[in-house]
Symmetry: C2
Subunit: 250 residues, 2 copies
């Protein structure tokens, strides 16, 4: 038997090599099907992005007419409210529109736009846009993902970030996240782990009304001041309601 | 002006109510489109599951002929190897097939099957199956998600879990995860957070060859014993290679 062993060894290697090549061939067929499936799904997503667009546009026009719609929605959302500073809430009184859209090829990223009333007292920009350029499916490394944000042209003495830095003690809420809303907006260093952007894109923009119409859980009490929760922050839903009541009763 | 105020207030409320109803109408249209999109995507996934099936079956038949394919693949995968105990590795010598399939309606769950050689010395079962019954898209709460696993009929004196419990000190690797491979298999209490199942489904099953053919990163050193990493466990790639060399050189 000894003389046949070198041949056996060679045969064994050849057999395993052949088998692995056959597996690889199957794998290529599977990969090709996966790619076809991704492309078909992409086309459907593009089709429905187009179909949804007029409804989003119509919705945006109606929302603009609702007083403080986005501010209220953000305040009522547990994740977004965790980064909102008091003065930022005041600034968001002037926000009229939130828009999120995929880039045309869907896979490579998306854009979140915050529209503000002309001549808002805080900055010159009418629109602040944060873009996420994501990797293609086969580049799962994070290095290829980037994010950009509009430079905010603060008006004289209105730079909210400067103010935050100058009196950090007053910002109780910052401990939760070490970020304020505009700090988040301008922070572009870790796009794949931007959970605020994901919340805006996948939770708030698809259905903001559910947050605007916060469930009646007792904390937001429209009519009865006596039962008001003492934890409610300045500029929160409670204060907005109070303002409205004042306006109505003038 | 005072006399008109109650009317203004009422008008204001009516206006806001009307606007919110209009937003809700838009939202219903958007939701309906989302549902249609999900259904179309589902159909594509079902179509490609069918198209991929013969290639997965062909691949499975070839893989069965490759010695210790799944054991080697699992050992080379960083996450799976972190839960493999020495004796479990020995048991997985007898594993011939891994199969993952979505339930027919795709959305509601999937099934992972581990096939073993008939009459493996550890248990009576030829197939161990773990199933994940997941919630539909609109039921995102975790309560509705369940998991089931085949009861393992251990052969006399071969219950690996009993053995693990009887000598916990010998299992260095258990510290990493507090779980062994078969402990994971039988653990059905938290299906939405079963990252091992997700790894098998989304990473290993779609392309196991990449792990079987572990990149040559120095730790697995085929030819030079002197430089071998002392952390390499019994039954690992190193040992398999050594065995093969011994067989080849007989």
């Amino acid at each position: 038997m000894a003389s046949t062993e070198p041949v056996n060894k060679k045969q064994k290697i050849e057999t395993e090599e052949t088998l692995l090549e056959e597996i690889d061939t199957c794998q290529n067929e599977i990969d090709a099907l996966n790619e076809q499936a991704s492309e078909e799904i992409l086309k459907i997503e593009q089709k429905y992005n187009k179909l949804r667009k007029p409804f989003y546009e119509k919705r945006a026009l109606i929302i603009e007419k609702v007083d403080k719609f986005w501010l209220t929605t953000f305040i009522n959302h547990p994740r977004i409210s965790s980064i909102l500073q008091d003065q930022e809430e005041d600034c968001l009184h002037y926000m009229t529109k939130l828009h999120v859209e995929d880039f045309d090829d869907v896979k490579t990223g998306y854009r979140i736009s915050f529209h503000f009333k002309e001549n808002n007292p805080y900055f010159e920009n009418d629109v602040l846009t944060k873009e996420f350029h994501l990797a293609a499916e086969n580049q799962s490394d994070n290095f290829s993902q980037t994010s950009t944000a509009t430079q905010i042209k603060w008006k004289e003495g209105k730079d909210l970030l400067k103010e935050l830095q100058s009196k950090p003690q007053s910002n109780k809420k910052r401990d939760v996240d070490h970020k304020s809303f505009f700090e988040w907006f301008l922070d572009t260093h870790d796009p794949p782990n931007d959970d605020i952007a994901e919340t805006l894109k996948d939770d708030i923009f698809p259905n903001p009304l559910q947050y605007f119409l916060v469930p009646d859980i007792g904390v937001y009490n429209d009519d009865d001041e006596s039962g008001a929760d003492s934890d409610i922050e300045e500029g929160s839903e409670q204060e907005i309601d109070d303002e409205e009541e004042l306006e109505d009763g003038e």
